[in-house]
């Protein structure tokens, strides 16, 4: 019998080791799997490479992982925000490496990894600092930059509901990077607000099919982090 449900978030992240590349879902705190990140901090893995849209907000989730100095490198599109003080401090002292990627290229590079694409030509970033040193090509009169997939050892994502086969549905704009990260990592771990029976998710409405998901940990809704007005994308 397939059963991807694990008892605790701690068990879910128990094999994430030093030096791992870990994708973390979320756009700001919407969709951020904060309880899985807390478990990862407790687990103690160091020297991590993190893939996320941002570089932590306030004093929750990813920001705390940075604060604990477990991250060697971050790949993201928008690190600088009104509440990214833990990243800012590490960046200014040279304690963290930053690979800045335009947001659509970040998403497509993640998608490409999950879809088995070797590399792809994108118009985004052509002629800018963020395309320096990359191969370019003109196709039908338009200029493109060659971008490569971003793969990960683990993905930590957050969904609304999941079942023991690993099928997931999300909630509103908290979906964001979850579905593409699920496909791009060797081991995808989802925290869901509710585990449901196999027949409870409508097959027409499942967003992430279970094939992409290895483990599910149930984290019932608690106190929801409040969106930070004025913190930029």
């Amino acid at each position: 019998m397939i059963n991807k449900i694990v008892a605790t978030v701690g068990e879910a992240v128990a094999d994430i080791g030093d030096g791992a590349t870990v994708m973390i879902g979320g756009f700001g705190t919407a969709g951020m799997p904060s309880e899985l990140i807390d478990a990862l901090i407790e687990r103690g893995a160091r020297d991590l490479t993190i893939v996320n849209n941002n570089a932590g907000n306030g004093d929750v989730g990813l920001a705390l992982l940075l604060k604990a100095r477990r991250v060697r490198k971050i790949i993201c599109s928008f690190p600088r925000q009104a509440d990214s003080w833990h990243f800012d401090a590490l960046f200014k002292t040279g304690e963290i490496e930053l690979e800045l990627v335009p947001q659509g290229n970040l998403a497509e590079r993640i998608r490409a990894a999950g879809a088995g694409i070797g590399a792809f030509y994108t118009p985004t970033g052509y002629g800018t600092l963020l395309a320096q040193g990359k191969e370019t090509r003109t196709i039908d009169g338009r200029n493109y930059v060659l971008e490569h997939p971003i793969r990960a050892d683990f993905a930590l994502i957050k969904a609304l509901r999941g079942d023991r086969w690993g099928n997931l549905v999300y909630r509103k704009t908290a979906r964001n990077f979850g579905p593409i990260m699920a496909a791009a990592a060797a081991c995808t771990i989802a925290q869901v607000r509710e585990v449901v029976n196999l027949c409870d998710l409508d097959p027409e409405a499942i967003v992430t099919p279970g094939i992409y998901v290895k483990r599910i940990a149930e984290v019932p809704a608690g106190i929801k982090p409040v969106a930070q007005p004025g913190a930029a994308a």
Binding site: R80, Q228, G230, A233
Partner: protein, 220 residues
Amino acid sequence: MSRYTRDQMAARVARDIPDGAYVNLGIGLPTLVANHLPRDREIILHTENGLLGMGPAPEPGSEDADLINAGKQPVTALAGASFFHHADSFGMMRGGHLDYCVLGGFQVSVGGDLANWHTGTKDAIPAVGGAMDLAIGAKHVYVMMDHLTKKGESKIVAQCTYPLTGIGCVARIFTDLAVLDVTPAGLTVVEIVDGLPFDELVRMTGVPLHRAPGAQAAAD
């Protein structure tokens, strides 16, 4: 000399967005445009974090941390809205499906190059977000910015000195002094704030400007 206020600029941009358009409004000043979209037009707002059919801010107390815009502020979803993941959201941009986007700007060049993500200074922490994808993706890229920097230098320039966001991507520039089109022949002023002579606008801007028929201000 008078200047367009923030709300006047936003209302002016909104006037140029037709019924039925799919539109992305960048963070900061362009967000204001949403407040000025004519009520008799059905215009669908896209937000990069995975929502088409974005509605206004919720009533205080009804905020939902899972329903936010690109600026991470709480929003609502209109009847008919749809949610999608990030690769789809940026595929909509890159694939040319969005009709308009409105972006802020540090500089726009005569050739329509845009710089709006990084000042290039050594100690600055760079952040690009979706700016480069929007700049090359939407069918019409509008830029909304002050005409001059706080030091009085023109933000419309012969060549951008800040790092570029996109090359030759800007169609129309809305400033607090004028509305200008980027054309193959250079910049054409289509509107100018009341009381500002055209020659004075050219002097302040510091690059050659053409005047569209009817662009004369009343006091010119």
